[in-house]
Amino acid sequence: MADTVVDPRPDRGGPAQPLVIAKSLKRHFTISKGLFGMKASAVRAVDDVSFTVEKGETLGIVGESGCGKSTTARILVGLTPIDSGDLIFDGEQLGGDLTLKDLWAGVQMVFQDSYASLNPRLTIEDTIAFGPRMRGTSTDDARALAHELLTRVGLAPERFAGRYPHELSGGQRQRVNIARSLAIRPRLVILDEAVSALDKSVEAQVLNLLTDLKAEFGLTYVFISHDLNVVRYISDRIMVMYLGEVVEIGPVEKIWQRRAHPYTAALFAAMPSMDPDDRTEVPPLAGDPPNPIDPPSGCRFHTRCAFAEPMCGTARPTAMPVAGDADHMAACHMLDPASGHSRAAARIAELAA
């Protein structure tokens, strides 16, 4: 039985080897405009993004819509090709030793739209069994696996296996999507706004399910959401993106204590708080993010930043450790003593306190 069921891609580098290393990922979408399509311009959806995903952790990615978090997710799962940069999965480089097919044996994704991500013409069990069958599992075994997984995500197979997607609720459909993503036994699951469309009570149930499954199957998650509370609940580390760039990354509690980048601070300030003592002094974000077709020069946030100085519009900030902690990095001129920003010294001292 065991050899008919797809085995997960074995661990190669040991626990110290990050599961994913993303180096300078770039993805620009060209859109042609003008009379003969000559005036081509590019949406810089993801521009020079680097980060790692450690084995067994949950990395939360947050940011406003259009910041590149979904494109990053699609890059990680190989659905969107990169223009430049390196994607290394457990020590193997995509396009080198690692083919897309290999990547798909280790990485799966759960999409936001629970309905659009299920084929309306296939029954639930056929949808879940599709992946294993494509990988050589026999029809009967694949169906047994599908029933097993349905049970595991809380849907009784006797009742749900033969149903079509339109007969299920949003929460049930998302459980099916989770079961489908687990069916080929991946090591990394990308959850792209996977609970955002659900009711709050259903969302909580699905989040708990995800937490249980992670422990049970030894998974690693990349969890994308615009809901900071949810991200805080499920993530070990958080990555904040703005206009296709990473502005801050670090362990969740450290970022909660020290919001080093003004954008992170503004994003958190916009989050409604239940605690009247937890007042914010940070001005909330005004207006929409600038057009990613023609992003601002220098620090991309300078057009909306309360602390922006002329130098912010010319020089691009590099990621600096926050309070000397290399786990917590942020890209802001105020964290760089050599940047020339007038507030730099004060800000560094403030964060070190």
Partner: protein
């Protein structure tokens, strides 16, 4: 870490599951509740059935004429629907005529449906240069009104059954390709296609299982809406002398050869057209019903 593979053995064989009704059985149930579909479906069924089984219906020879009994009126003993300009039995010729007219009308749509679906799905799924080549060619054919294109190709190829089918197929490939391309392009961007791709299936399997199943029904409904036009055009080609040649029984050709009889026996002369009209009406109404039953919006 729990292993799913090992726990299957413990859980035994899959339990019996309640299977929901599939999409097509739902469509069938809705069609059976539609009175228009029932009535005109029965009508069309009768016309097609009579055409297929014409030799077994005890009809007179549709080719045997008689110089003495030409253009006999409807109701003549022995000739229920009268006789044509060469004294041949109209009832037999009308029923036999359905064979060629329906064949010439329906086959091109069937062929165009198959070819157009392949081209459109290819263009919609692959995109890029393939899409550009296919769709720009389609645009050029679209620049011709369908009647004109059918007549132009038939006129160039010359009269004949095969040429008539070829030219009508060419006429209907572009519109079907266009519909197939746009439906495919919209399905391609749905997340279940992405999910199928990352499950490791080949592009061909993704198209076969996840794209085709969801695009074929709107394309099919669109194709059925073309059958009436196709049949009218097919009969029209014969009417112009570009399709079937005498002495074959074919509604368009019969209409043509009976034209001179409108001064003598107008009812007889109009009968082949009545057949075309009724059949085309049935095809259009059924296509509308099918569209409603399949819940397809434009």
């Amino acid at each position: 870490m729990a292993s799913i593979g090992t726990s299957i053995a413990a859980s035994g064989p899959p339990k019996a599951v309640v299977r929901s009704k599939g999409y097509w059985s739902g469509v069938g149930a809705r069609l059976r509740r539609d009175p228009v579909a029932l009535v005109f479906g029965t009508f069309l069924f009768a016309i097609i059935g009579a055409a297929i089984f014409a030799p077994y219906l005890g009809l007179q020879d549709p080719y045997a004429g008689s110089m003495v009994s030409r253009l006999k009126p409807v109701g003549t003993p022995g000739h229920l629907l009268g006789t044509d300009e060469l004294g041949r039995d109209m009832l037999a010729r009308l029923i036999y005529g359905g064979r060629l007219t329906l064949l010439l009308g329906l086959l091109p749509v069937l062929f165009a449906f198959m070819i157009g679906t392949v081209l459109g799905v290819l263009a919609g799924f692959v995109g890029g240069l393939v899409n550009a080549v296919i769709m720009r060619t389609v645009d050029v054919f679209f620049a011709f009104p369908s009647v004109l294109l059918a007549i132009a190709i038939s006129a160039a190829l010359g009269a004949g059954i095969i040429n008539s089918i070829v030219s009508l197929t060419l006429v209907f490939i572009p519109p079907i390709t266009r519909v197939a391309e746009s439906v495919t392009a919209s399905v391609r961007n749905l997340e279940y296609v992405d999910a199928a791709r990352i499950s490791g299936a080949s592009a061909f399997t993704v198209v076969r299982v996840h794209v085709l199943g969801n695009v074929v029904s709107p394309i099919f409904v669109y194709a059925t809406s073309l059958t009436s036009v196709s049949m009218i055009l097919a009969a029209g080609l014969s009417f112009l002398g570009l399709g079937v040649k005498p002495p074959e029984a074919e509604w368009g050709l019969m209409l043509n050869t009976l034209r001179s009889a409108i001064y003598i026996n107008p009812l007889i002369a109009a009968l082949p057209g009545v057949m075309i009209f009724i059949t085309s009406l049935c095809l259009n109404l059924l296509s509308d019903s099918l569209r409603t039953a399949m819940n397809i919006k434009d």
